[in-house]
């Protein structure tokens, strides 16, 4: 599984970084820096889906089966 971002949609709300700090940080302007390295669904799956669902802009997407 991995999480990735569509940078054209990110407006820097920052909710994602609160829900999935292991893979998402914010830059100095508040935009998400997303580490899209794969992780086990069992380890971070719930966090990833929650972060993606919480984004008001729908900027994040989770890819499974990796």
């Amino acid at each position: 599984m991995r999480i990735a971002i569509d940078p054209t949609r990110c407006h820097g709300h920052g909710i994602c970084a609160l829900f999935f700090s292991e893979r998402i940080d914010l830059d100095e302007w508040g935009f998400a820096i997303v580490d899209d390295q794969p992780f086990a669904a069992t380890e971070f799956g719930q966090r990833a889906r929650r972060a993606a669902a919480a984004c008001p802009r729908g900027a994040l997407f989770v890819e499974e089966g990796l």
Binding site: D6, P7, T8, R9, C10, H11, G12, D27, E28, W29, G30, F31, I33, F61
Partner: protein
């Protein structure tokens, strides 16, 4: 002509200067055509073989008389492209065979798009091909269509490329009259903006949207215009296909180098005029510049495009013009632009102008690009004017690392690379500028053309 400052900057936080406004007024998009000279590195031209540049567009009769008819066998053409190692000539250097194979094998109705938009203001190679050898471009598109199993091809230009458009329209009429087994042709014109020529921006435009780069989870060759497998290829790449499809991979690989096979078109600009040359064999940048009339090593050379890299003049003079040799100097062929910085000009000042221009040309879609490039433009401007401190440059380097790879397209990456290369190539100037002693009397007008941003994205 009334000119409001606001019309020049989509991003108001990017510093403007009078030099930019004055030069923009004097820049004419329909400037006289560039000169074409003899091939470099060899005696036989390939793309530019045929009637001299002054003769204008080569007719269909002359083209077929010189090269013979093109046999549109998709299998043979695909194999030739694969064996050739042809990579994109628009700056991306993506293997042409792989792109066309993806378009051919993804289900659906494949589409060929010839990207002749040539958004780099100083690049003239694609416009020259369209103007002088339109049948090479169109034959190549037909060959690409055969390889991809497509029956439609779009040639996409920027608005304002009148000579290229006229030549293509006349050539298309000749082909229709001759009943050539071509795909169905479409000609499209998009806005003349720097990022509008990016492949995903062209796809977006062709779908009826803005000519802005898009974030895509799938490449266009898999999912492009209206979901169709779309092969977007640079006009020069396509022109190569016209020759490759006729004479085969071994002949085609007889030009260029082992690492960068095939001939390449290069535009040399000194800010006043442009020369387009075809590099057919191993040649140093010095030999290429010499052929374009540059007599001795300049202060520096801008390699690849405005969002390219500066390399010291003496070093670039003896560097061979191929990807491997350029990589060792931190540069890349890009769209084949070689911009000459003469002695007596300030590289930091010209770089600041370029970064300001490129920052304004952002599509404004991604935070790191809009804000990061605005900051970069400010720092480069401060440095050029002698107002920057060493800590500003440290911040710049740190920010640069944080911007790269975080946009929907490679625009911010390129601008960052340009800025960082300026700090390296002009390190002596950096020291003086940081000490509050910037270069003086080194040019009120920008060296390289910085066209006014066209309003709108359609």
């Amino acid at each position: 002509m009334s000119l409001s400052l606001r019309s020049l900057a989509s991003n108001p936080s990017v510093p403007l200067d009078q030099g930019l406004i004055e030069r923009a007024l004097s820049y004419s998009p329909s400037a006289p055509p560039s000169t074409v000279v003899a091939p470099v590195g060899g005696t036989t031209a390939r793309l530019l073989a045929g009637p001299p540049g002054q003769s204008g567009a080569e007719s269909l009769e002359s083209h077929l008389g010189r090269l013979g008819h093109l046999q549109l066998d998709g299998g043979i053409i695909s194999a030739a492209i694969r064996d050739s190692g042809l990579t994109g000539r628009g700056g991306g250097s993506f293997p042409a065979a792989r792109k066309l194979h993806t378009a051919a094998t993804t289900g659906g109705r494949a589409l060929i798009v010839v990207n002749a938009s040539e958004s780099e203001p100083a690049s003239r190679k694609d416009g020259t091909l369209c103007r002088l050898r339109p049948h090479l471009v169109l034959d190549g598109a037909a060959a690409a269509a055969a390889a991809a199993g497509a029956d439609q091809a779009v040639v996409h230009l920027h608005r304002g490329a009148k000579a290229a458009r006229q030549a293509l329209e006349r050539a298309l009429a000749e082909r229709v009259n001759a009943s050539l087994p071509d795909p169905t042709w479409y000609l499209s014109e998009g806005p003349n903006r720097y990022v509008a020529g990016e492949a995903s921006a062209v796809v977006s435009f062709l779908e009826g949207g803005d000519a802005k780069p898009r974030f895509n989870r799938q490449p266009a060759a898999r999912l492009g215009v209206h979901g169709r497998p779309t092969a977007v290829n640079n006009a020069e790449t396509v022109a190569h296909l016209a020759l490759l499809a006729r004479f085969g991979a071994r002949w085609w690989r007889g030009a260029g180098t082992e690492d960068s096979p095939g001939s390449r078109l290069v535009t040399v600009t000194d800010g006043v005029s442009e020369v387009v040359l075809e590099v057919v064999g191993p040649a140093t940048i010095g030999v290429i510049l010499g052929a374009a009339g540059v007599g001795a090593p300049p202060a520096a050379v801008l390699i690849g495009g405005y969002a390219g890299t500066w390399v010291d003049g003496d070093l670039s003079w003896t560097t061979r013009f191929d990807q491997e040799a350029l990589r060792a100097t931190g540069a890349s062929i890009g769209c084949g632009l070689l911009g000459v910085l003469p002695h007596g000009r300030c590289g930091l000042q010209e770089s600041a102008r370029l970064v300001r221009y490129l920052a304004q040309e952002s599509a404004g879609q991604c935070g790191p690009c809009v804000l990061g490039l605005a900051e970069l433009a400010q720092t480069m401007t401060d440095l050029a004017r002698g107002h920057a401190r060493r800590s500003d440059l440290r911040t710049m380097r740190r920010r640069a690392a944080a911007i790269v790879g975080r946009g929907a397209c490679r625009h911010p990456d390129g601008v960052v690379a340009l800025g960082l290369s300026a700090l390296d190539a002009f390190d002596d100037d950096v020291a003086r500028h940081l000490a509050g002693r910037p270069c003086r009397g080194v040019g009120d007008q920008p060296l390289f053309p910085l066209p006014l941003t066209e309003p709108g994205w359609r």
